[in-house]
Every structure is written in C-alpha cells, then in structure tokens.
Assembly symmetry: none
Homo-oligomer: 152 residues x 2
Amino acid sequence: MAKMAPDQIAERLDAFETRCRQLGLPLTTQRHAVLRAVLEHHDHPTADQVLETVRDRVPGISRTTVYRALDTLVALGFVRRLHHAGPSARFDGQTHRHHHLICDKCHKVIDLQDESLDRLHISEVHAEGFQIEDFSVHFMGICRACRRSEPS
Amino acid sequence: MAKMAPDQIAERLDAFETRCRQLGLPLTTQRHAVLRAVLEHHDHPTADQVLETVRDRVPGISRTTVYRALDTLVALGFVRRLHHAGPSARFDGQTHRHHHLICDKCHKVIDLQDESLDRLHISEVHAEGFQIEDFSVHFMGICRACRRSEPS
DNA sequence: TGCTATTTGCAAATCAGTGTCAAGAAGGTC
DNA sequence: GACCTTCTTGACACTGATTTGCAAATAGCA
C-alpha cells in the first residue's frame, strides 16, 4: 500500500482548508492535524492510532476530539471509514479500491489489491434507488494458516 | 428482498437438527430459536436485533447465549456473519450466493441477486494460500430512504 | 477588541462483545 | 424413569470502542 507523496498531502490539506471556508466551518488546528495524520498513514489506522500520531504535533489533543474530527472528515468526504472484522473502525485517506479475503475459521481479514476485480460493471446492477458509490468483493474461505492447522 | 418461505425455513431448521445429531452437539431450545429468528428476518439483523426477536419465543434468553449461538451457527455454516456493514456485525441466513447493498448512512443491508455478478473469475485472483469457497460483492452507497431524508 | 457560534476537553455514559462460573438442560445408560 | 456426564445457559463483571453532556476555550468576523 503506497504511502501518499508529501505534495499530494499538502494538496489535500489545501483542499480541506478551502472547503472549510466555503462551508463556514472553523478550521481548527485539531481538525487539520487529524486529516494530516490520516493522510500520512500508509495503512488503515484505527482512531486510536490516529490519536497517537496526532499527539506528536498537538500533544494535548483529546481522544474525543479525534473521534469528532474523523466524523467531520468522513462527512466531508476527505476520509473514508472502513469496518473490518475487528471491534474498531479504520480510516483511510486514500480512496483506492481494495477487496477482502475473509477466513471462515479464524475470521481474519486480508486486504487484496486486484485490478481485474476493479473492472466490474456497476451500471448493470439493478439498484432500486440505491446510489452506489463504490464496491468491494469479499472472498470467503479458509486461510493458509487454518488450512495447515486443521486439514479436515 | 425476498423473505424466506415458511417451508424453506422449516427445511433449514431440520437440516440443523440433523447436523447437530451428526456432531453430537446438544440441540437446545435456544440455538434452535436463534437460527429460526435469523431465518425469519428478511433483513440482516445485528446480534441485539436477533435477541429481541428470539425473546418473543424464549422470553428468558440471555444476550450472552444469543452471541454464543450465533457463533456456533456461523461455525456450522448455517448463518453468515457480515462485517463491513457498520459498527456491529450483522447476520444472514441465506447461504446461496448473493450480494449486498450497504448504506453508508444507516448501515442497512439490502440483498441483491444479480446473475452477471456471479460470473466472476475467481481463478484469476491471486490468493496466496487462501482457499476460496465463495464470494460476495458489497456495494457501498446511500439508500433511497437516506437520500430522501438528507438531500445534501 | 469584542461578540457569537462552534469546537474542545474532560468525565461519565453507552455500546458491542467477551470471560467467568455456578446452576441447568441434553443425550445417552441402566 | 433415575442417573450420570458433558456441554450449555444465564447472570454478572469486564474490556475496549465510541458517544454524550456540559463548561471553558477558540475561530471567524464586525
């Protein structure tokens, strides 16, 4: 998963500032720092991982604020919220598409990049009033580790 | 989204009883009622929604038991667990291949039958030791109801 | 600088799910 | 049916993740 380039991060932060002014939304140090933290992560951080990263720049920031900032960023479309198998939500500053391998035994979720899967014909899907933004393919099966340990 | 027909529900419950006897797994009232509740739901209930439904038939059943019964049913393949559809896991009694529309706002899950999606070339997927049994395509977006109420 | 609406930080509450353990069925055996 | 063993249940406490209520602080603006 490629890390975002510094100039691309700066560009996104600028876009965010512009959008805030457009909406009359106060552009706080905290919100700015939270977006930056998410963009600088190359993986999909949980809210707590974001908090940890943000604290390098804004030491006193509270967990609550990070949660609220993430909510705002998701609502504005600058960050995507991902639900994986674990108990905590994950956040993603890149909007690249990815798929999942889900183990039926241990419930582990493995991310999968596959270009051939990305070319799905969404338009053909009969979606009755549902406005489709994106999709992801979930593969169910048994992971390598579980296959080894339990060759049932 | 089609509700499961009564005779189909009965058939699945029978299959479950048979499987329990095969495995020497005690067939308890609670487990039976939990499976029934999931099958009778036309949507994709959370564990707590299942609990609520089950209580109509088994008033004293505890939350813990419902969670455990769902675990068992998932392990036996009678129920499918859906992550990625919001903060809480959702359960699905349909076991044939189908796809999902997931609302980003209200986290509702709508079943989708689409033959064209079923013809995905699994073999092309680079699955590193993962043995793929089945797949399902998840479409994320905004459902009709949420679009009406919040035309942002 | 001063005003106002919004946001922040803290603490407490809530939510989803898990762990513990004594009491209670299920499924056999006589 | 009585009995026994094993697995399950229910009550409760507990964890980690997220939300809420409210007073104090701050951004945006005149």
